[in-house]
Symmetry: C2
Subunit: 423 residues, 2 copies
């Protein structure tokens, strides 16, 4: 007797084609069978007729509690935006960060994201929310050298955070070291981070070349760009998530590929902040593992990964090439993201974590059209019917089971008012 069977859906396996009227069997949090049929019985059977069944989406770069700063600094270019946001962030108490995390996780569960890579502060709050809600996350406690604690204390505190949370919540939580960027952390500090990460066996999550200013400053300071500097200290490997990666040379792309680095492309945020466009079609051509991230809601406005797929489609098509195909965009949002977070998910096949979403494909905005095209261009977060992580149903038939929506919204409103009130 298995735990769960999802039947009669249009199964988009991502790595193994599409199965019409397919069946998925889940036992003990793991997918045990994907096919046309099964003789297995299960405690729970979900009828997915009229729906697509996909692996859950993976948000490879976000700051989830920034949902609280949504709309706080619209229509400012990057530097002014950052200034305003940092001023607001100084007012964020641990309680605020938790309220923002609840709001963000609620949005992710509702829009079909089953795992996310986060980087922020007061991260114990975020970890508690992840543990409580059942979503999966890779958590990085941000580090800006010179801010708050002394470097040695910071490194020690982060090691303690990682020790506390890595593998927690039946392995739904993993941790990463999260130095903010090669500009806000010195080479020496980054080297220490790298050593600790190697010692602890964890990955690294870092912003890389988000702005042209960073490129200029790095060349001035080190005579080389961020990618080369990180490579010089051995920080580029398959356990690294490099967010943004906009101002890359062809040589940088080659290096990212050779070192198996994971790039988190965040097109909505990049457009909103006017910081440039990452050379994603070129990276994909070269075989770089490019995942998708929403970045924080203070720049992207939402944590909806369907928006992010469409934004990635739009911005690269607008550059006059043929853009990225819908099928490739879905891969970026699933299997590429899972690889970046080093989780055994992102595809529907036996042996993988049962991180699965069910999406209503009967809606008018998907009519007519090829299934990949319809999913990427037609679906929004509001069409996700059911979200499952580790075989556990977090949302079913549009109803979130693990959070009280009104309470979460009320909490976020109150926390946001507190920030405004202090002005």
């Amino acid at each position: 007797m298995a735990d769960l069977i999802i039947k009669r859906g249009h199964v988009i396996t991502i790595n193994g084609g599409v199965i019409d009227n397919g069946v998925i069997v889940v036992d003990n949090g793991i997918i045990t069978h994907v096919g046309k049929d099964t003789k297995e019985k299960a405690d729970r059977v979900i009828d997915a007729k009229g729906c697509a069944v996909l692996p859950g989406l993976v948000n490879a770069h976000t700051h989830v509690s920034m949902t609280l700063l949504r709309g706080a600094a619209d229509n400012f270019p990057f530097k002014e935006w950052l200034d305003k946001i940092q001023q607001a962030e100084m007012k964020l108490t641990p309680r605020c960060v938790r309220a923002g995390a609840y709001l963000g996780v609620l949005e992710m569960i509702k829009s079909g994201t089953t795992a996310f890579a986060d980087m922020y502060f007061h991260m114990d709050e975020v970890a508690e929310v992840v543990r409580e809600t059942g979503i999966r996350a890779s958590l990085g406690y941000g580090m800006i050298e010179g801010m708050n604690e002394e470097p040695e204390v910071k490194l020690k505190n982060r090691a303690e955070f990682n020790l506390k949370w890595n593998g927690a919540a039946t392995s739904r939580i993993s941790t990463m070291y999260a130095p903010h960027s090669p500009l806000s952390c010195s080479k020496e500090f980054l080297l220490r981070v790298k050593e600790q990460a190697a010692r602890d066996g964890t990955g690294i999550h870092i912003h890389v070349l988000e702005t042209e200013d960073e490129l200029g400053s790095m060349k001035e300071k080190y005579g080389m760009c961020s990618v080369n500097l990180l490579d010089s200290i051995g920080m580029l490997d398959s356990r690294t998530i490099a967010a943004h990666c906009i101002w890359l040379s062809d040589g940088d792309i080659e290096l990212l590929k050779n070192r198996n680095v994971n790039v988190a492309h965040c097109p909505t945020s990049n457009m909103a902040l006017g910081v440039g466009t990452a050379p994603v079609p070129k990276m994909l051509d070269k075989g770089v593992n490019v995942a998708l991230g929403t970045d924080g809601a203070a720049s992207s406005g939402s944590l909806d990964m369907w928006n992010e797929m469409r934004a990635a489609s739009a911005i690269h098509k607008s550059k006059g090439n043929n853009g990225i195909t819908p099928r490739k965009l879905l891969e970026m949002a699933t299997v590429n993201g899972a690889k970046a977070l080093d989780i055994n998910a992102g595809v529907l096949k036996p042996g993988c974590c049962a991180d699965i979403i069910i999406v209503d494909t009967g809606k008018l905005q998907l009519v007519p059209g090829d299934i990949y095209s319809a999913l990427v261009y037609g679906v929004s977060g509001f069409d996700v019917r059911t979200t499952i992580v580790d075989g556990k149903i977090l949302m079913e038939d549009y109803e979130v089971k693990v959070l009280e929506e009104e309470k979460v919204i009320e909490g976020a409103r109150k926390a946001a008012l507190k920030i405004d009130g202090d002005n």
Copy 2:
């Protein structure tokens, strides 16, 4: 006794600020009062607590029946895309155009669009759908010189179409002459169109400088760009909708302003086809009336004007300026569009047509945030609760009253299959 009162909503008047807990009175299809309170009684009272109340959105450039070609030619640059689409269009029977119009109008009603400017063929079908469903439209029967009828016959047929439909359906339908573009119609033909439009007192809806190729070809053929050619025959005035307007010089922008031309900006389509970015911030600075359009769903993927506002925000911010404010984007999608279509709508004030939408603002993706920012960045078509045109409720509490959704979807699927099947 009035017909309808909408009370307790957050009233976004567009031209006269925001009224919290406001009231709108509608009688005989017209808004008779907007304020904090009223002593009037009405047959119907709608409680809009927890919602924003706005003028309906105006889609200033679309080809509604192209919903049927959604996803038919993804990931092709403009010329190849056009080639594939035109091949598909040759198979579209009047019945197909009607099925596509039903699907498109359903999407518009659901996403809060109350009026649209259309340009296509078999337009009697579209007109019938507009009449039947209660939406408002300005319909242009497309003209490409040399395609189908002889020029004289074409001009005669279009005059007959206009005579038949202009002012029909209690004035919800108006008509425009719709020569396809200054490249696909000769100067002589356009002059004849202009004369007929002046004679009939109707506007003109035309594509202008959508591609750099058009700019080059016009300069080669006439020694001037499309804007100057249209001006030379008197076609630029306040009754003209110029769609796209991407490849403009500063002088062209000046001319569009001086002639009071309405520009329909279609950012999603423009990005998808990689044809360039219209200089919208510059046009707005100069005072040009820039409205928003989705273009056809074969390029934009949807007819959701909320998407379109977000796309306009994203693409212009991505160019490194501060972009367009949320408030201005809402104006473009409402009052500017109404001006382009020459309809007395787009704002909430006494004397205007009661084209009104009610939008749920309690949803998590709008929390927290300034109301304009939340509406533009947070709302999607799926948050529109009620859509009213001419005081008549077309959708209430998410339920479309004037169309059977499943039947419309089924009809569109069948019509689309027919096109595929003939391949």
